[in-house]
Symmetry: C2
Subunit: 351 residues, 2 copies
Amino acid sequence: MRATLYGGPGDITVGERPDPRLRTPGDAIVRVTLGCVCGSDLWYYRGVNPHALGPIGHEFIGVIEQAGADVTGLKPGDLVVAPFTFCDGTCANCAAGWTGNCLNGGSFGNHGVDGGQGEYVRVPFADATLVKVPGSGHSDAVMKSLVALSDVMCTGHHAAVSAGVKPGDTVAVVGDGAVGLCGVIAAKRLGAERIISLSRNPVRQALAREFGATDVLTERGDDAIKLIMEMTGGIGVDAALECVGTGESMATAFGVARVGAVVGAVGVPHDSLVPLQTVIFRNVGLRGGIAPARRYIPELLDDVLAGRINPGLVLDYETDLDGIGDAYAAMLERRATKSLVRVGAGVQGAM
Amino acid sequence: MRATLYGGPGDITVGERPDPRLRTPGDAIVRVTLGCVCGSDLWYYRGVNPHALGPIGHEFIGVIEQAGADVTGLKPGDLVVAPFTFCDGTCANCAAGWTGNCLNGGSFGNHGVDGGQGEYVRVPFADATLVKVPGSGHSDAVMKSLVALSDVMCTGHHAAVSAGVKPGDTVAVVGDGAVGLCGVIAAKRLGAERIISLSRNPVRQALAREFGATDVLTERGDDAIKLIMEMTGGIGVDAALECVGTGESMATAFGVARVGAVVGAVGVPHDSLVPLQTVIFRNVGLRGGIAPARRYIPELLDDVLAGRINPGLVLDYETDLDGIGDAYAAMLERRATKSLVRVGAGVQGAM
């Protein structure tokens, strides 16, 4: 099969991989239809974070090509969303709902499984991992929103859930990448009344407003903190979503959070430090991390299929497998918020 | 009046202060009966944290001596518990329950009000700040538990509440000071089934067991983490209480927390760093801070009066105002877990 291969920093190519085969009766083989490039893939591409050489990509939707003998909930032809991590559904962490931290799990395009930026993927624990999409004949817009459920929409939702967003809240979203934009969707969906998005990019500003942001600020750092504190009568926001992972974004999120609020952080941390004085002296908490996407997908899927949320709009660049190099470059050069990769053709729903 | 005065690092004496007077109609004057020395007072004593020169002490109970014209819920003779911070009860933070972060509040023995280690204290916003103790003729043991409600019991409770302790949980309590020991009481009270206390001090070990600790470990740091992970089948504890405030204690609390757990931290941070990789990659959260004591006191008071909790046992050294210097020294030299100061004599309940 053809698949995207990571050859080291700056080295993304399409090459040949052996077709994956069932290894255990619980596996399924998925024929990938749509994949994405994740912001975290860029960290590998830039050589900031390490990644095993070989297949890459952890976001995809596709069609069941083959199901192992023990797979009961899925059959060939089913359209499925893959969370970015696979999970057994039964370990102590999964049982507690933390499917992204499965003791026997891992992420796609790593840990001995192929990636979502290739034609086929062997999915371990298929019943526990994959979410079947009901219906058929879904529009291309819906399909794009489905692949957004694989990671970014769940991760934005995790930021909002971690921050405890509730009806009527004022929420600040730090970060206007795909995850931050999905954080706006999530905050709106959870009932936030005022959503302040920090963005300087006109395209993303417009998307943030479309997703529910009531205020879009171009200020950053201390200027943003000062302005948001003024906007909230000196109190701060009820919930702050940290969707970047830098020291500045973390400081901004803590700086605008009101006493007793929680910063919901999902950015992979790089130079971040938690301002512990704010934690202790203002009772501002910190929660977040690797999203338990498998737990979140069913409820978000309902909203996608009902047309209530449209996270696929964050995918503002698209290509096929041959264009994967530019899919990365477009994000790196900020020509794209997030790149869609059309891997398999013509699949718009269950067969 | 006579009061303890902070004259700088290592300089604690008893001296004269003007008798406090009502300044606003919402004030009350409290005649202090019992005060305490807090672990945080030691930071000032040691010169690690700054403190204004003059009165000191933020934990006390006493009797209303005089109530301002606007005070409706308290009258002279009432026995009251003072939370360590005063609060107006109406600001945005108070309204949200964060009474320890009142926008118009402050802590006793600071911010222009006298301290609990002296004979009288003017209490601002008396109705909102003070909690009246029902009944009369309370035993000395109960009175000691009442003064423990002023800070340490509420702070230990805040660690447990922040960490989300729930029935059936396994909880680790890092720190065997008065707050850590109260954290054990709080964890037990919230239904924890297994409570692992980290302590090397035989007196405190015994108290931890009396308060409900099921396991007492003498290990620290990585050894403690290794052992607790073994004790929990490699999963970690459901809730970790950080009641010290050092880098080692923070690392230990994060190191033993299971995926998805929250570290409830109430130690005033000194050299602490939050291990952000653990936050993100294990979904371990961090909450805590200055306890909203005024919010917690009523429910804890009920338990004290009913004999269900006995936090006054942490007060294992006592003296009168003249002995205040040794009250500090005893804690500094670890002869005492926490020092009680008998300021006014013979008050065992409402007059």
